[in-house]
Symmetry: C2
Subunit: 208 residues, 2 copies
């Protein structure tokens, strides 16, 4: 079974996951990476140049995607690498012990590009990979998607707009634009439709 | 069965839900409300004075808590009330059709208080209610909690700290404080521990 629907993924949406790979010395590496569900058997990831993850994937041609919501794993894999006892092995691959599910992804296509964003130009590797094997540690899995959280945060600001002014008001406008960007990047059609309605309601509070 | 663990709730955590109540004219009302899992058979909610929800709860002595992630329901119940065809009836109570689960809560204790927050003094009604009946529309239910989202957002800022300065840097510091406040309000012990580590890492980037 290699259908991403079995772990709650929907085509076109981006999920917050932990990628596990093997370092040249054979030890496990973990990194927090957004994974786009391109199709029910294919994912796309954008990786920063120079990262351990991209080097390992270029060398091994595969990686493991962990679906979990364990806050400490996200923190530890961002600040460095989680302690070794957080990893387990499955057929020569590493996964995170507390994961709800994981799957092996095999690289189909890999491309280095230059990307320009709000922080300048950076080199990024775009990886397209096929879903090889899905292992569920839990019956029903819900992958982490940020869209609904963004909408709820935006609604909190909306209900406070009559109470704020000055710097706080400008901050809310800034956050709403940022949230809208995220929801449209990671969300599905219903999230985008909901965000559009929030923006319409927000536009009644235009800044001077 | 009236144990909140059956719908994935943990003691001490706050979940984003939709409360449904009955208006005096018999029509359904929906509002987005944070519900604290006080114990496995008891919840606490804080309601703004003057809201339709608090009036209905004072009159009826009960309400329904809907566990769902439907973005349009959150938007519509914030901006006004969802159209009537979004509601269904169960034993004289209303629930939201797209909900993953719902339960009836019976008021045990109700108290009007004055609360002071960043926006000034407001009157709030604190309701303590017993969980009477849980109905699951899905085998495994995951209620909406904002803690992991906050931690992931904070980690995004942390990885960008070397790239930003001036207004953006100040904005990130502001957001981190706000996220920390939310995570400590809504999260569990693991979320708070993770947030503490993020704050420690963040403190290396002190503002001038």
């Amino acid at each position: 079974m290699s259908d991403l629907a079995s772990i709650g993924m929907e085509r076109g949406m981006l999920y917050e996951t932990i990628l596990t790979t093997r370092n040249p010395d054979g030890k496990p590496n973990a990194a927090p990476i957004g994974v786009i569900c391109k199709d029910m058997d294919e994912v796309v990831v954008y990786l920063h140049e120079g990262s351990r993850t991209v080097k390992n994937i270029k060398k091994e041609g595969e990686f493991v995607v962990n679906i979990l919501k364990d806050p400490l794993i996200f923190v530890e894999s961002t600040l460095g690498n989680p302690p070794a006892d957080n990893f387990a092995e499955y057929k020569d691959n590493f996964y995170i012990k507390t994961t709800e599910a994981f799957f092996k992804a095999k690289v189909n296509h890999l491309r280095d590009v230059e990307r320009k964003d709000q922080f300048g130009v950076s080199r990024t590797t775009i990886v397209r990979a096929g879903v090889e094997e899905i292992v569920k540690k839990k019956d029903q899995v819900e992958p982490l998607n940020r869209a609904i959280y963004g909408i709820i945060e935006a609604l909190v600001y909306l209900t406070r707009m009559d109470l704020v002014s000055g710097d706080t008001e400008r901050l809310y406008h800034h956050r709403i634009r940022e949230i809208s960007r995220i929801v449209n990047k990671v969300g599905g059609p219903e999230h985008k439709k909901a965000m559009k309605r929030v923006l319409e309601a927000f536009s009644e509070y235009s800044l001077e």
